[in-house]
């Protein structure tokens, strides 16, 4: 009974840790005391995302009738709260006429995907695998 409760508490903590890491890149590492790694993720990933926005990349909508657009939206969402903040501030409209449009999309999508890798890493650290 006690072991089960401890296991549930541990699972709950893991979910919170992963959610925090998704919402704010590097937050999970900071939570676990890996300060230098956390600070690097906290600086690099939002900066990469911001670069994508600055060069007129597009935050793709969740259009499931277009599978590639839907997948790009899921990748964009990987960056966490920054995605919603950018959308709320009117960024990420994208301008296909600009030469750097595709570069911007690559920055936005890859920043989101890298944050998903960071979440997997923080999960591994929390499980004691690293």
């Amino acid at each position: 009974m006690c072991a089960s409760a401890a296991k549930q508490t541990r699972s709950g903590r893991l979910v919170l840790l992963c959610l925090a890491s998704w919402a704010l890149p590097g937050a999970g590492h900071l939570w676990l005391g890996r300060r230098s790694k956390g600070l690097i993720f906290l600086a690099a990933l939002p900066l990469m995302f911001a670069t994508g926005l600055a060069v007129h990349g597009r935050l793709f909508p969740f259009d499931l009738s277009e599978p590639l657009v839907g997948m790009a939206a899921a990748a964009d969402l990987g960056i966490g709260l920054t995605y919603f903040l950018a959308g709320a501030l009117g960024y990420g409209i994208g301008d296909v006429r600009v030469a750097t449009y595709e570069y911007g999309n690559a920055f936005l999508i890859v920043a989101g995907l890298l944050n998903l890798l960071v979440i997997v890493d923080v999960y591994d650290v929390a499980m004691g695998r690293k």
């Binding site: 690097i40 900066l47 670069t51 060069v55 750097t100 920055f107 920043a111 890298l114 890493d121």
Partner: protein, 57 residues
């Protein structure tokens, strides 16, 4: 920011940095791994660019 080369370098830098920090724990190992990855990105981009040079659009 119209420079394609600058964007390529920035992209390679960010990806190499994050991969190096995820993959390695020791500072020197991170620097070495990230540097090799960054160099690999740039070298392959220049090599592929030149290989595509003869092909018309």
């Amino acid at each position: 920011m119209p420079s394609h080369l600058l964007l390529l370098v920035l992209f390679a830098f960010f990806v190499s940095l994050v991969f190096a920090v995820i993959a390695k724990d020791d500072g020197w190992e991170q620097f070495r791994f990230g540097g090799m990855m960054f160099g690999g990105f740039l070298a392959s981009a220049v090599a592929i660019g030149w290989l595509m040079y003869p092909f018309p659009l």
